[in-house]
């Protein structure tokens, strides 16, 4: 069996942003469920937060590819 441990490392690193994105959308759904008229106000905020959390996973991906094999 051969391979690269970087791959496992990236998989582990992706857990953090995954939890973050889950929390953000959970909060968004909660907010809309409690106050449906706030939906359009909350959507850009939720997507902004999602994008910021996701950036960490994307960094990991890029670092995985530029790291020496």
């Amino acid at each position: 069996m051969s391979g690269n441990l970087n791959l496992v490392g990236y998989g582990l690193a992706a857990i953090g942003p995954a939890i973050a994105v889950g929390l953000i959308f959970a909060a968004y759904i909660n907010g809309v469920a409690r106050q449906p008229e706030a939906g359009s106000l909350l959507r850009p905020i939720a997507i902004l937060g999602f994008a910021l959390a996701e950036a960490l996973a994307i960094f990991g991906l890029v670092l995985f590819f530029i790291s020496p094999r």
Binding site: P44, I47, L48, F50, A51, L52, E54, A55, A57, I58, F59, L61, V62, F65
Partner: protein, 274 residues
């Protein structure tokens, strides 16, 4: 028989520089030269073709649908207005504020339609290459946003010294300054452009890689010797179809996120608050 006839098509799918399919795909597969530009040593690549096509298509569409603007819109004008209103009201007005959002709308609209079309090229069959999966293109777009929000900020604060002073939150105790000042400067000068460019690049790159893995991986399974593995190819291709639909969602979302973040950076620069 049909599948055998398809095999040259399928094996050409990864479109690596070498010409034949291999698995797993690598970042080098995204460099796809079409022909050499004589005398320069440069190559005309597939993503360059895609970005040229997108520019031509967008110019044609926007000129066509806005030349004879009428109060009762034609169908084409209606769709263009739909997108324009989305950018103008839902992104620019909401995040920059009613006072001076209007001067940013042309830039935001251009960025949105340009990125959206280039992203969608990732799943439109004859092209099937998201331009932004080559990192230079998102960097170029980010450079425009970067220059604009710093320019606007410097003009708003009457000079670069005041602009940098404004970046530091007021009312901090002196012992915190050595910690906060580098962090704030990094946010404005390094983190923002870096995340903006890499987010778009990473999403398009990873998404396209995923599609290639499922499609080419399915082909690898199908052409393997074991009869059991041949059957596994079908779920793999089914997954490729599902992932293509998912990609369409991501591609729209990334165009939206890029413009939303650009708008929020402009908003920061013109608002004058921290």
């Amino acid at each position: 028989m049909v599948l055998a006839a398809l095999s040259p098509v399928l094996s050409a799918l990864p479109m690596s520089g070498e010409g034949d399919g291999h698995f797993p795909p690598e970042p080098q597969d995204f460099w796809q030269p079409l022909f050499a530009i004589p005398g320069t040593g440069f190559y005309f690549t597939r993503s360059m073709a895609a970005i040229a096509i997108s520019a031509i298509l967008l110019s044609w569409w926007l000129v066509r649908t806005t030349r004879n603007v009428s109060v009762v819109p034609s169908r084409g004008q209606h769709y263009t207005e739909l997108v324009y209103n989305f950018i103008r009201n839902d992104i620019a007005k909401d995040s920059i504020g009613a006072k001076d959002f209007l001067r940013f709308v042309p830039l935001l609209f251009a960025l949105f339609v340009f990125i959206l079309l280039n992203n969608l090229f990732g799943i439109i069959p004859p092209i099937q290459m998201p331009t932004m999966s080559r990192v230079a293109y998102p960097i170029a777009l980010t450079a425009i946003v970067y220059v604009v929000y710093h320019w606007v900020g410097i003009k708003k604060h009457h000079g670069i010294v005041n602009y940098i002073k404004w970046m530091i939150p007021p009312g901090l105790p002196a012992w915190l300054l050595p910690l906060v000042v580098p962090l704030e400067l990094m946010t404005f000068f390094i983190n923002r452009p870096l995340t903006l460019a890499l987010r778009l690049f990473g999403n398009m790159f990873a998404g396209h890689m995923l599609l290639v893995v499922f499609i080419v991986g399915g082909w690898e399974l199908f052409t393997s010797d074991s009869i059991g593995l041949k059957f596994v190819a079908l779920p793999a291709w089914l997954m490729a179809v599902v992932m293509t639909l998912f990609e369409a969602l991501i591609q729209f979302l990334q165009a939206y996120v890029f413009v939303l973040l650009a708008a929020s950076y402009f908003s920061d620069a013109v608002s004058g608050e921290h």
